[in-house]
Amino acid sequence: MTPFFHVGRYSQLMYRTFTVPQRWKIFVKQTWKEMEKLGADSLPITLLISVFIGAIMTMQTQMNSENPLLPRYTTGLVTRDTLLLEFCSSILCLILAGKVGSNIASEIGTMRITEQIDALDIMGVNSANYLILPKIAGFVLFIPVLVVYSMFFGLLGGYGVSLFTDLITPSTYIYGIQYWFIPWYVYYSLIKAVVFAFIISSVSSYYGYYAYGGALDVGKASTSAVVNSSILILLFNLILTKLLLT
């Protein structure tokens, strides 16, 4: 199947997905559920990874910037900007593409092969709208929360390094993360994350929705969902950076 085939079928699926829900009450309830399942349940892994990456980034930056011409606060500044510009949106979303993407693709794929989606269609329910829209809405609405927490905990990880090692003093680190702060970086990161969340949830839903066969095929759909979401995240990262930063 050519990429054009997938683009066409994906567009058709999204056209069916973005219609007015048949029952708003059910849609809102489903969206809350998805926010909890895809968003809130991803919070522990997000915080854990953010703390460690923040700490490691601080250590590595400090160890690699021993040039006396560089001010001591450079470490805090570099850690902050790297976290804000790249880690808390792109890298975090690449990680979440694995967790959330495989979850969505396998759930919808299993529903497909066990005829649960056919059952919805027979009832007259718009299965794409009922199953996919709450997932996209839930994840896109919750991703800013994950990104903000990731920023805070990433910076906290770096602060931990300054507290528990003698690489950098806490006051220098705090000065560094406050120095020349550009608020737009936060918005830039949030915009990117929202786009990536849409990619993860919609692309994974697409692969799950058109899964065909048995358990093995659901596994394949899940893998395709993660791989293609990741590739699209990288591609859109480039496009958005060009559009928003340069």
């Binding site: 056919d118 269609d121 009832m123």
Partner: protein, 252 residues
């Protein structure tokens, strides 16, 4: 009444359904029988609208499926109930919520009335006490009964069953068959059943269509089945020793 008019369906150039005509009457259990791979499931999927036939038409009480717009199709689908081969219950919901689902989506009943209707359907299939269990916590037979309860919750005019007895023991199969027959008469539905279970054929077959390699090879009722001289049909019907014994007894 459901009328099939010259239905054709092909996949990748291979013709799976070759111009089938049939009429399924209201208040009857209409069976589509045939060997595995004969095209029964494809035909049923065409009838319910999950697959679009390449040519031909399906009339639901003289309403043409091919002439219906999107909204008319949604309305028609609320008049349908379907029992899938694997039950197709939503495994994230309890049995009660499964039955409530179509009511939530399409009925204008109050929440209290919806629950009352769901419990009535569950009690009708003998699952009143298992309402709070999840599909994975009940047996295959109970799952089928729960799926029947869900299928009848909106009081459908048409009931479709795809291999309702697959994976069930003979005793449970008989119970499911009886339940489908009773419900068909009680609710005055047009029921179409896809099966290759000969017990079902002989107990429920008020109208039988035998499909052979995508074509309708024979049509009749269970009494006519014994007397038919259709070679293909006899090959299929009398394949098992049990059926051969049964026929011998009947002849004697």
């Amino acid at each position: 009444m459901i009328e099939l008019q010259d239905i054709h369906k092909s996949f990748d150039g291979r013709e799976v359904i070759k111009g089938i005509n049939a009429v399924f009457h209201t208040g009857q259990t209409n069976l589509i029988i045939g060997q595995s791979g004969s095209g029964k499931t494809v035909l049923l999927k065409c009838v319910v609208g999950l697959l679009n036939p390449d040519s031909g038409d399906i009339l639901y009480d003289n309403r043409s499926l091919s002439a219906m717009d999107k909204n008319e199709r949604v309305t028609l689908r609320t008049e349908m109930g379907m029992l899938f081969q694997g039950s197709a219950l939503f495994d994230s919901m309890t049995i009660r919520d499964n039955v409530l689902f179509p009511l939530h989506m399409f009925s204008n009943l109050s929440d209290k009335e919806q629950v009352k209707r769901a419990m009535y359907c569950l009690e009708r299939v003998g699952l009143g006490e298992s309402a709070s269990l999840f599909p994975a916590e009940v047996s295959g037979g109970m799952q089928k009964r729960a799926a029947i309860a869900r299928a009848i919750s909106l009081n459908p005019r048409y009931l479709f069953c795809d291999e309702p007895n697959s994976g069930l023991d003979p005793l449970t199969s008989i119970k499911i068959d009886e339940l489908i027959t009773d419900i068909t008469q009680e609710f005055g539905m047009t029921t179409v059943i896809n099966t290759h279970d000969m017990n079902s054929v002989l107990t429920m077959g008020e109208k039988i269509c035998f499909i052979y390699q995508g074509d309708k090879a024979w049509e009749g009722n269970r009494e006519e089945l014994y007397e038919s001289d259709n070679e293909r049909l006899n090959e299929f019907v009398f394949a098992s020793k049990m059926m051969q014994k049964k026929t011998r007894k009947q002849v004697q």
